[in-house]
């Protein structure tokens, strides 16, 4: 009887075999809207990083939108516009803060972009355009502060604006609106190099007695991750473990590397004997590398985050030479930008699509700014004096 059971089980299990029957036709150069949808859906299925935490029901997307795309014509502009409207709905709840689709079909009169996280934030009542705090911060700086600009370091014409100075001769202030600092510093003609050298010289001189630091990352939309070593690596004498990262690896939707430790590495071998009090200013426009910098600085013993909750885009955009998953292209129709790796803090929190909350919340206040006061910077100075 046992033998009968075993044989029956074996035969039954054999019948569970399902062949790799794949009716989803993918192409890098789609010729129809059905192919566009199949290729997009399939590429997202394998390349998108956040399926383990994303609330979007990707199977339901397939079932719902496949028939709709089938009825669209790839050579008809109104139909492509309709597809862009569908893509807006499909991507509306994706958690990836870096996610963007650039539509570049020749049939379109002008290229179009979908940025789901921005659309989501624009619908919030507290949404505002980025504000340049550096002009206001200068009011609080002692005379002799340095500021500089650079338009070439980012490689895409984005303006890098850096400001550094002392507040009451005891607090060292540093602000940058993106992280292309090392690139700019490499150029001898860059104004940014002068500001950075000024900041580093005061930082080095202050080793004799502990001083306080304010890093102002408000409005900083990120940049090169290597800048974390360039900037924060000067404050440490041993690797600083500040979180974990993971990337996709393998053929499955949920195939990942394990969580791997993230480090800031020291720039010098000299021992750092001072432990300054650090305040990091953040706001709703602080994104990407600036969020990572904030989390890294948060690991210092006496550090505090002041301001608003950050944007929530902590995954880096890295070339496929390093990570094989992330952004992909459907030639002649769309470029999809999506994170190549995920980030988790040392405490096990993920901030993608959520943002990092400050220790002291001070909301953006346009009336105070109009009156010439930076309430967030004032709070930072107050916290340091505590």
């Amino acid at each position: 009887m046992r033998l009968l059971t075993v044989i029956f089980c074996l035969v039954s299990l054999s019948s569970c075999f399902t062949d790799l029957e794949n009716n989803i036709k993918t192409s890098e150069t789609p010729q129809s809207m059905e192919e566009v949808f199949d290729s997009y859906w399939s590429n997202m299925n394998s390349n998108y990083l956040y399926w383990d935490i994303d609330s979007t029901n990707w199977d339901l997307v397939y079932k719902t939108y496949k028939p709709l795309f089938k009825n669209l014509d790839i050579n008809d502009e109104p139909d492509i516009q309709k597809s862009i409207d569908y893509f807006k709905i499909i991507t509306a709840h994706l958690v990836d803060g870096h996610y963007q689709i650039h539509f570049n079909s020749k049939v379109l009169t002008y290229p179009q972009i979908i940025n789901p996280s921005l659309i989501k934030k624009q619908s919030d009542i507290s949404f505002r355009e980025p504000y340049n705090f550096q002009d206001l911060a200068k009011v609080y700086l002692d005379s002799g502060f340095k500021e500089g600009f650079d338009f070439s370091s980012s490689g895409n014409g984005q303006k890098l604006s850096v400001l550094s100075g002392l507040i009451n001769e005891s607090i060292l202030y540093f602000s940058c609106n993106n992280f292309y600092l090392n690139n700019a510093h490499s150029s001898n003609t860059s104004e940014v190099k002068l500001v950075m050298d000024y900041f580093f010289s005061i930082l080095n001189n202050s080793r004799a007695e502990p001083k306080s630091l304010i890093f102002d990352f408000r409005g900083n939309n990120g940049g090169q991750i290597g800048d974390l070593n360039f900037l924060i690596g000067r404050l440490i004498d041993r690797p600083l473990h500040y979180g974990y990262s993971k990337a996709k690896f393998g053929s499955g939707k949920f195939d990942y590397t394990p969580w791997i430790k993230a480090y800031i590495n020291p720039l010098h071998v000299d021992e750092v004997n001072y432990h300054p009090k650090i305040v990091v200013l953040i706001d709703s426009k602080t994104a990407s590398t600036a969020e990572l910098a904030s989390l890294a600085l948060k690991e210092f013993p006496q550090s505090i985050l002041v301001g608003e909750k950050t944007y929530g885009a902590t995954g880096p955009l890295v070339s496929k030479e390093i990570y094989s998953y992330g952004s992909f292209v459907l030639d002649g129709f769309m470029n999809v930008q999506t994170s190549s790796a995920g980030f988790m803090s040392k405490t096990g929190d993920t901030y993608e699509g959520v943002g990092i909350s400050p220790n002291f919340s001070v909301m953006f206040n346009i009336d105070s700014i109009a009156a010439g006061r930076d309430m967030q910077l004032e709070k930072a100075i107050e916290v340091i004096k505590l």
Binding site: V6, I7, S42, S46, F249, T257, Y263, E321, I322, S324
Partner: protein, 237 residues
Amino acid sequence: MRTPIIYWAIVFLTNHIIIAQPFLGFTTGITLNHSKQEKVNSFKVKTQSGLLFGTQIQLALKKKISLNSGVYFAQKNYSIQNSSIPTKSAIKFINSYLQIPLGFQINLISKKDISLKCESGTYISYWMLSRSKGRAPNIFDTRPAVDADGNIIENVTIAFYNKRNDFSKKLDKRIEAGLLLGSSLILYQDPCIFFVKLLLSQGLTSQEKDHSINVNHKFNQTLSIEFGVLRKIRLNP
């Protein structure tokens, strides 16, 4: 169609087991496993070796036919590598199974105490443990260095890891069933049998559940080379 096959198989077995001469012993060897799966991006799936050992029971049903079974520990390892990137990232999956084979051996050639047999049958196995051992680029751990012009450059480091994987009820199918095909070279030294066996097993069930549309299923294909010894058991002393 299946019902008559099962019926005749049971009739055949029950008729013969009564008169069968049992042998019991141990076997050990190596496995070479490949994971058949759809290729995504620039990854290549590579065959990896593993260990195999267990106890084996053989029932000599007729002069030329015997039934083989037992309980095995078998590793079905494989690796995936990305050869297109400079870092050559790779993961080796070390998968340990508890396997129960059921195969029929038929004598092909016999000469004195040596015989060559072919074997075919089926197996069922349980996926007990899974480990990932690999290297991956870590953009979150770059090392500053100074280039020839005195500028600071950042080199991406490679992270090495070796981690036990947790199974997911939603994603992982831990019971595997498949088919066996192989051959054995046997030396009789009464009351023992020494053998060398080459066996190919093909998983018919994948390692993944159908958790979503277009699941990329992974099927184990394992070649095992076994060495073992069996001893005759006297049922009526």
